[in-house]
């Protein structure tokens, strides 16, 4: 098989289910359940940090994750202080935050705030523990933090109940390394599937209170929220795509074995 034929096969296996949804059900995994229950147990009026630590390349996974998490937080009347430690995550995180906040009629400055972008994760995470205003004198829109009602009451990690990192890289680990080690803040991670296996030790040791991984994780979370979204939409295409990859591995190995026998 030529490589273009393989490409067409994978394209077909992903595209056809988008036109013919089968309505397949999926099981919710314990780690997503734990994530959900941690957010669910937050008292109304608490404040969490949501860090959009991803780039535009993984938007297909991180957008459903971010939207599901934000919808849950706003539905629980939890205030959100958000930031990004990656430049592209800044623009994307800000637009996701505003979209979901508008859905729930939340007010900027009272119910949520977007601090903006800071590089150098160590200095940012540790600095936020001392004083938000020292790290971010102004928010993303240029307002002084001292003029914003949310940050007048919540000035550092003492006022924060939980830290959630929506990420496509190593940053959730650094939230544990620096924010949890020094300030004992619980951390939740919503990550792309490629990073999910790396974080199971953190989940097992309790350093992560929950873990949502990839588009499947987002679909499970949406099922728990009772609000199907972008995660659920892609599940059948994902199923057939996986079957196709497994079939290609098997066919490739069989043709290799047959060719070896002939020699």
């Amino acid at each position: 098989m030529k490589r273009q034929q393989v490409y067409l096969l994978i394209l077909a296996s992903i595209t056809i289910p988008l036109f013919l949804p089968l309505g397949l059900k999926h099981k919710v995994t314990p780690e997503v359940e734990r994530f959900y229950q941690t957010v669910e147990s937050l008292p109304a009026g608490s404040t969490v940090i949501v860090s959009f630590d991803f780039e535009a390349s993984t938007i297909a996974e991180t957008k459903p994750l971010a939207q599901a998490v934000l919808r849950h937080l706003f539905a629980r009347n939890v205030s959100v202080v958000s930031l990004s430690m990656l430049a592209e995550g800044t623009g994307l995180g800000y637009s996701f935050l505003r979209e979901v906040a508008d859905e729930f009629g939340r007010k900027y400055g009272e119910d949520y705030i977007f601090l903006g972008f800071r590089p150098q994760y160590q200095a940012t995470i540790l600095g936020l523990g001392e004083d938000f205003a020292k790290v971010f004198p102004k928010d993303y829109s240029g307002n002084n933090l001292s003029d914003i009602s949310l940050t007048q009451n919540v000035r550092n990690y003492e006022g924060i109940s939980l830290i959630i990192s929506v990420a496509d890289g190593d940053l959730p680990q650094y939230w544990v390394d620096y924010a949890q080690t020094r300030y004992q803040k619980p951390v939740l991670a919503a990550v792309t599937a490629a990073m999910a296996t790396t974080y199971y030790p953190y989940l097992s040791s309790g350093q992560f209170s929950g873990l949502v991984g990839g588009l499947k994780g987002a679909a499970e979370y949406e099922a728990l929220l009772g609000q199907p979204g972008l995660g659920s939409k892609g599940m059948e295409a994902q199923s057939l795509g996986h079957l196709m990859i497994i079939a290609l591995i098997i066919i490739g190995n069989l043709s290799y074995l047959i060719a070896r026998k002939k020699i």
């Binding site: 490589r3 994978i10 999926h26 535009a56 600095g127 599940m235 994902q238 490739g252």
Partner: protein, 188 residues
């Protein structure tokens, strides 16, 4: 920075916070060096006939973002925001989506179960791939449970071993940097 973790003193705390603040600014300049270097390279490439049009596109992209971003602002509805959402994000997302095709091609051409280890790797991959999608549940109720068990126990144990190894290496390297034994970051 190491000492202040273990001792409480006002002057140490103040120094710690000040240094954290300063390092963020200095770090940004290191990223800026990369950006400036890129601009230098593309300016040079505009003198080569074959690459000139492409380098001109790169430089135009940089100038458009700088001009509109700094003068008009970055709020929703601005040119900066429009270019980010309708040019940068789709291009970046599509660039990475190509990997799906390459993974499929590699799966057919390259993933051979030539040894027991490779067979174990491919089998576990197949179980996890099936277990993590609804169709796995349709084939058998046990597949998602098996995938979950693999992720939470043997895979997790191996990753924990790697993590502890990396942690020991990180601490050792950090101590070598602090004591001046390790100076490769200076180019020595």
């Amino acid at each position: 920075m190491l000492v202040q973790f273990y001792f409480q003193a006002p002057y140490l705390d103040h120094a710690y916070q000040q240094v954290l603040d300063w390092v963020q600014i200095i770090y940004l300049f290191t990223l800026g060096v990369g950006a400036i270097n890129l601009i230098k390279i593309h300016l040079k490439k505009t003198t080569f006939r074959r690459e000139a049009p492409y380098s001109a596109i790169t430089l135009t992209g940089i100038l458009v973002m700088l001009f509109f971003g700094l003068l008009q602002g970055k709020e929703t509805g601005s040119v900066f925001d429009w270019v980010f959402k309708n040019v940068q994000v789709p291009l970046q997302a599509t660039m990475f989506s190509l990997l799906a095709f390459f993974v499929a091609s590699a799966a057919y051409r390259g993933f051979r179960a030539r040894s027991t280890e490779a067979f174990v790797l491919l089998s576990v991959a197949a179980i996890v791939m099936l277990g993590r999608v609804p169709i796995g549940n349709l084939i058998s109720d046990n597949i998602p449970d098996l995938a979950n068990w693999i992720l939470n126990f043997p895979s997790m144990a191996a990753r924990r071993g790697i993590l502890i190894g990396i942690g020991l290496g990180t601490v050792a390297t950090a101590l070598r940097v602090i004591s001046g034994i390790e100076r490769t970051y200076l180019g020595k």
